[in-house]
Symmetry: none
Subunit: 132 residues, 4 copies
Amino acid sequence: MQTLDTMLITIDADDPRPLYQQVADGIRELIASGGLVKGDPLPPVRQLATSLGVNMNTIATAYRTLQDDGLIAVRHGAGSLVASCTITNRTRAELLSPLRPALTQLVLADWPLGKILEAVKQQIHLIKSGSS
Amino acid sequence: MQTLDTMLITIDADDPRPLYQQVADGIRELIASGGLVKGDPLPPVRQLATSLGVNMNTIATAYRTLQDDGLIAVRHGAGSLVASCTITNRTRAELLSPLRPALTQLVLADWPLGKILEAVKQQIHLIKSGSS
Amino acid sequence: MQTLDTMLITIDADDPRPLYQQVADGIRELIASGGLVKGDPLPPVRQLATSLGVNMNTIATAYRTLQDDGLIAVRHGAGSLVASCTITNRTRAELLSPLRPALTQLVLADWPLGKILEAVKQQIHLIKSGSS
Amino acid sequence: MQTLDTMLITIDADDPRPLYQQVADGIRELIASGGLVKGDPLPPVRQLATSLGVNMNTIATAYRTLQDDGLIAVRHGAGSLVASCTITNRTRAELLSPLRPALTQLVLADWPLGKILEAVKQQIHLIKSGSS
DNA sequence: GTGGTCTAGACCACG
DNA sequence: GTGGTCTAGACCACC
């Protein structure tokens, strides 16, 4: 059981992703890292909104996205909580397709295979440990 | 030297990426795979547009993106060509940041590290060989 | 005369209906099935609330809804009871309007008329027999 | 091929459904009736919004709902169109569950089975013919 | 007090 | 000109 105070999500205006997706991705990482486990409550929409300095609706959209993923449950009038820590019902192709352009950039930057794998391993470690 | 007819870029309306980015990513993969090398001409904007069934501006935007990468040179009135086969001027963080959310999905899907690395190796191989 | 212990109402967090309406609908089905008849007492708000694991106000709202239907009588300080087993004062249009979107879904799912009528017959039988 | 002018969707402030759902349900009926077929363009978000006297975002939400159903395709910057005329990937239980409370009301109103079936047949006919 | 919905209006991304 | 995103603020439904 985790207190909500550990919610460390950062919003970056220069990030190409829309704000609500940055928030959703941030919470996904928190769940992936074990920082949030099944049953943990999420902060109220309004609280997280003021805490991150964004609009209420932005957070609501992020929560709706996570609800569609089956990762969280939003209970009208009673707050939201982590419903599951794993994503299922997603095909291998759907999971891998966002990887393609990201890896293409590394190939074009002339990174050798070993360096890429090393970086991937490091990123996964960072995700699982909940760092930066 | 490669003829332009081998340009095999596929556009998918269900892909979350905007069309212009699908086009740009497609050309990036062609360059990464060696299917296009330095000096190779790119098809005229109009021709690629009609060939892919998209708007001319969509292709123009894609070319502009690639120009910003330094990968292609757009010569007003004289067509475009591949200017370089490697991306430089990109920080390690910029290159790795799109990897984060893609890998988070795999972690949430409960893929073990080995399976992820195997998939990454396979994807890189597909990119370098210019497959699917 | 029916004892209250046979109250078998199930609450489902994934149901799109609000909790109070699930409770009200459940009691409506119990009355429609003959599981509760005119004069039968309903469980006290507090008891049903703890029994279903929901808030007291949720039950109170459900009872108020049923009272508006004329199905139950809520006597301050003396418990509630089934006041009638039939709904009146409802226009044909009011009764049929919730059917429209439900049937539209079946039409969009390409169910032939016969299959829909069969399913309707089965559902009515389930309601009248008080099953699942 | 249908012109957009035939879009006859009515918004009712007294309807318990939220506005965006009334719009989505209205378009679902238009598709179910054959008034809109695969490939038909939908009116631009802004146009339908002013035409119905609601906010742009309300229509955008309705369109997003229909997109999630797979019924329409929304193409950023290029309008929306009907992508399919049938709903799939929905379990029998999911399709039938909204029928339960609607039928319960009719049972409580003491409608005999025959009258209910007759009304259901009529409603389906109205849906398929695109009437009121 | 919680989340849901809606509005008006702005700005941006896209085709 | 299209749809997407975001804001500020309001009101309602729900628990």
